[in-house]
């Protein structure tokens, strides 16, 4: 299988089969919290894709040349979360300066990318051996970060699109908000379960 063949397999797997939100339960807070409006969901998604890609690259290099090389694997969690926190701070400053409107609509959720478990999750998964014992190299780790971010944004946008219409629906008061959001997510997860049958 050539490079593009492998890339295609990874993309389909990260976006549809092993989707971060619906199959791995990572990044649920922003998925349920920032999915009420399509444009803020889009901004959040783009920020997450960027942070996940860059974080994958940085944490992979830090793990390989700083932690494993010196036998400090037990500091992994600590080193990774600090790297991610610094990166998010940087992204926040850039968006605040260049796109104040976007910054305003993302509000509290931008600093919360630090505590988005999808980011730390992909960083840890990248350095964990795969089921067949092999590990990713730098290029594939970064691509995995990027594609997982795309998968996250994909379902976030789908969710926001549905929820915008759901606003107009007359439903029982007790079902509003998180309850209906979760049931909607369950329905989506059920739909995505169909992709498990894909043989690639």
């Amino acid at each position: 299988m050539g490079f593009f063949g492998q890339l295609f397999v990874m993309a389909v797997s990260a976006i549809f089969i092993q989707n971060f939100v619906l199959a791995k339960f990572l990044g649920l807070c922003p998925y349920l919290g920032v999915s009420k409006k399509l444009d803020s969901a889009f901004g959040m998604g783009m920020a997450v894709i960027f942070v996940m890609t860059v974080a994958s690259a940085f944490t992979f290099l830090i793990d390989k040349y700083l932690l494993v090389a010196n036998g400090l694997e037990y500091l992994r969690t600590l080193a990774f979360i600090l790297t991610i926190a610094a990166l998010v701070q940087f992204v926040e400053m850039v968006i605040q300066k260049n796109a104040p409107a976007l910054y305003k609509s993302l509000g509290v959720y931008l600093p919360l990318i630090t505590t988005n478990c999808a980011v730390l999750g992909v960083a840890i998964l990248n350095v964990t051996p795969l089921p067949d014992g092999s590990t990713y190299n730098f290029l594939w780790a970064t691509l995995n970060g990027f594609l997982s971010g795309v998968g996250f944004t994909f379902v976030l946008l789908a969710m926001a699109g549905i929820r915008e219409r759901l606003e107009l629906v007359d439903m029982p008061k007790s079902m509003r908000g998180f309850a209906s959001g979760l049931i909607l997510a369950g329905t989506m997860a059920l739909a995505f379960y169909g992709f498990m049958g894909l043989k690639i």
Partner: protein, 196 residues
């Protein structure tokens, strides 16, 4: 008196999962069985108590501007302790919780309590808050896991409850079942709140 108030509020009145709605990822991912849920709950409770005590102790010497990174470092240190202790003494549980042990670092409940409570209160009350919130978290995980394990496997804590002839509703322990269970539980709680 206030010690007990702080201790008990996390269990029902300010339950972190159902009332404050934080820490969704572990609530959905680790509730496939009651055993996993209790393991996750205890690990998070330990981190919550230790980090609350620590942060309350150092709150006066922490510069306000860098307090969040400081909290994260404190929490990450305790998570590493739990991670290594669990790998050594409970390897099976460690394996089935997997990724979600290091991910306790980014559990919003822990950072949330550090910022909202431990940062402003004394050590004793912070400890009580940590214990209460931890118990509340463990309790709500167990409730979700009980429903899922019972429907999906017919068992509770690996003990058979429903008769052998029960045809397990597999979806309950798969990913969609987690969302449905929590969604309907939350709707039920909202309904109870409205009635009152």
């Amino acid at each position: 008196m206030s010690f007990f108030k702080e201790l008990t509020k996390g269990i029902i009145k300010e339950n972190p999962t159902f009332v404050i709605v934080l820490g969704m990822c572990p609530t959905l991912a680790t509730t496939t069985s009651v055993k996993n849920a209790i393991g996750m709950g205890i690990a998070a409770t330990f981190v919550l108590i230790c980090s609350n005590i620590m942060i309350s102790l150092i709150k006066n010497i922490t510069p306000d501007k860098i307090r969040i990174p400081v909290y994260v470092v404190v929490i990450a240190a305790f998570v590493s302790v739990v991670d290594m202790a669990m790998a050594a003494y409970l390897p099976d549980l460690h394996k089935s919780l997997g990724l979600f042990i290091p991910l306790i670092v980014v559990n919003c409940i822990i950072l949330g309590r550090a910022e909202a409570f431990a940062n402003k209160n004394n050590v004793l009350n912070s400890m009580a808050d940590g214990i209460g919130m931890g118990l509340g978290f463990t309790l709500s995980l167990s409730v979700v896991a009980t429903i899922r394990e019972l429907l999906g496997n017919g068992t509770w804590l690996d003990m058979r409850i429903l008769p052998q002839s029960y045809n397990p509703m597999l979806i309950a322990i798969l990913a969609p079942g987690a969302f449905f269970t929590l969604g309907f539980l939350m709707a039920a709680i909202n309904m109870l709140k409205e009635k009152r």
